[in-house]
């Protein structure tokens, strides 16, 4: 077995994932990066997108996160996510529903605050849909 790095994914509600992985590709704000063992220490913000977890040279799991922070060092990779959804557990219908809900929100928004909120929801839903497509 190849070298592994300890990957942790935590949301405010709970610890979602804590396992050794060979590589995790994380959507950083300034571009995707792969966290592998002996990676140089790095702190980055994360944009909404999918984290791909590689084991044995293949993607074994893809998890959508709605932004957050990532910390990488030689033997560990920690992602603090605002929200995380396992892409294997969400159906296309759910995503469609979410897109629809975001659109509705955008239509109903009357003031600037609501509009900004609805736009964020829309961007998130869109990112989720893109991530689900692969």
């Amino acid at each position: 077995m190849a070298e592994t790095t300890e990957f942790e994914l935590v949301s405010p509600e709970r610890l979602l994932f804590s396992e050794p992985v060979e590589m995790a590709v994380i959507p950083g704000t300034e571009g995707d990066f792969g966290a592998m063992p002996r990676h140089a220490p790095l702190l980055s913000t994360v944009r909404p997108g999918a984290i791909a977890i590689y084991n044995g040279g293949k993607v074994t799991r893809r998890i959508f996160i709605a932004g957050g922070f990532a910390e990488v060092n030689e033997d560990r990779c920690t992602v603090l996510a605002d929200e995380a959804i396992d892409l294997a557990e969400i159906s296309a219908e759910d995503i469609q529903k979410r897109l629809q809900a975001a659109d509705d929100l955008l239509k109903e928004a009357s003031n600037d605050g609501e509009k900004a909120e609805a736009t964020t929801a829309k961007v998130l839903a869109q990112a989720l849909a893109d991530a689900a497509k692969g």
């Binding site: 942790e8 935590v10 949301s11 405010p12 509600e13 709970r14 610890l15 950083g28 704000t29 300034e30 990066f33 140089a40 220490p41 790095l42 702190l43 980055s44 913000t45 922070f69 910390e71 060092n73 920690t78 603090l80």
Partner: protein, 298 residues
């Protein structure tokens, strides 16, 4: 001496009280389990957030123009105390201990000549503090939810605190809540969240090799940008942690209090039943004596 009828009605009333307290105990126990899980599940995030911030703080510390959330405003004249209590009573010393601690804190700060502002979270704290410090209370919220606490509640409170901070309304922010230790032990905790205080544990970890490793972190985008995003988030997270710990503590305290109440009611019923039976027998004996002496007199 109470009549038999009085005793009977007292026994009935104590019995119905007992039913209520034991039901409340059961409800609290089931909520406690969930609340405890939630509180414990939230700890990793808050801890890792602290660790990240700790790393960042070390590298940014001392540089000019560091965020006031990290370095402070440079003075500590005005303090904001966020008092977290429950919305409901009947949970033993839970609310009382938080209120007492907050009152001491406020008195202490005032004695040092500081201005104090109070933000009450939860009805009970507001009720108790508004008598003494009505003019110091700047805000109040009781939208906590009864079953679980969502992150959105903490986010709202956090946003409020940050808004006040940006408007320069206070310099130091402290939250007061109960840390959940067990169903019978809760610890009143005062935690400074603005400016960011490094927790003791992180300080201990920063031994020589760790410090060396931390010096070479890369930042994407820049340190300042990450800090700007991370610090407000941290405020909300720490508040969320406080709320969750508090909620678990509340359920624990209520469970213990109601357990005691149920037991006391049981004791009381026993005593009352004993008195009731004695009185009943005394009365029968008295009646018998009357009949017998009546018969003898003939």
């Amino acid at each position: 001496m109470a009549s038999l009828k009085d005793l009977r009605s007292r026994i009935t009333s104590v019995k119905s009280t007992q039913k209520i307290t034991s039901a409340m105990k059961m409800v609290a126990a089931s909520r406690l389990r969930r609340a405890q899980e939630n509180a414990e599940a939230a700890r990793p995030y808050a801890q890792r957030m602290e660790r990240m911030l700790g790393n960042l703080a070390v590298s940014v510390a001392g540089t000019a123009g560091a965020s006031p959330l990290l370095a402070g405003t440079g003075k500590d004249d005005t303090h904001l105390v966020v008092v977290m209590t429950a919305n409901r009573g009947l949970c033993g010393g839970f609310n009382g201990s938080i209120i007492r601690a907050s009152r001491l804190l406020v008195q202490d700060l005032k004695a040092q000549g500081k201005t104090v502002k109070i933000l009450c979270v939860g009805k009970k704290g507001n009720d108790a503090l508004k008598r003494e410090y009505a003019k110091d209370i700047v805000g109040f919220t009781d939208e906590l939810g009864t079953k679980t606490i969502g992150f959105s509640v903490a986010d709202d409170i956090g946003a409020r605190v940050l808004k006040m901070f940006e408007a320069g309304e206070f310099d130091v922010c402290t939250i007061v809540y109960n840390t959940f230790k067990s169903a019978i032990a809760q610890i009143v905790t005062k935690q400074r969240i603005i400016p960011f205080a490094l927790p003791e544990a992180v300080n201990d970890n920063r031994s020589a090799p760790a410090a060396a490793a931390k010096a070479i972190y890369e930042y994407e985008p820049s340190e300042e940008e990450i800090l700007d995003a991370l610090l407000p988030k941290n405020v909300a997270i720490q508040i969320y942690r406080g709320l969750l710990e508090n909620f678990a503590s509340e359920q624990g305290a209520r469970m213990t209090a109601m357990d005691n109440a149920t037991r006391n009611a049981g004791d009381m019923i026993k005593k009352l039943t004993l008195t009731y039976n004695r009185t009943r027998q005394a009365q029968i004996t008295k009646e018998l004596i009357e009949i017998i002496s009546g018969a003898e007199a003939l």
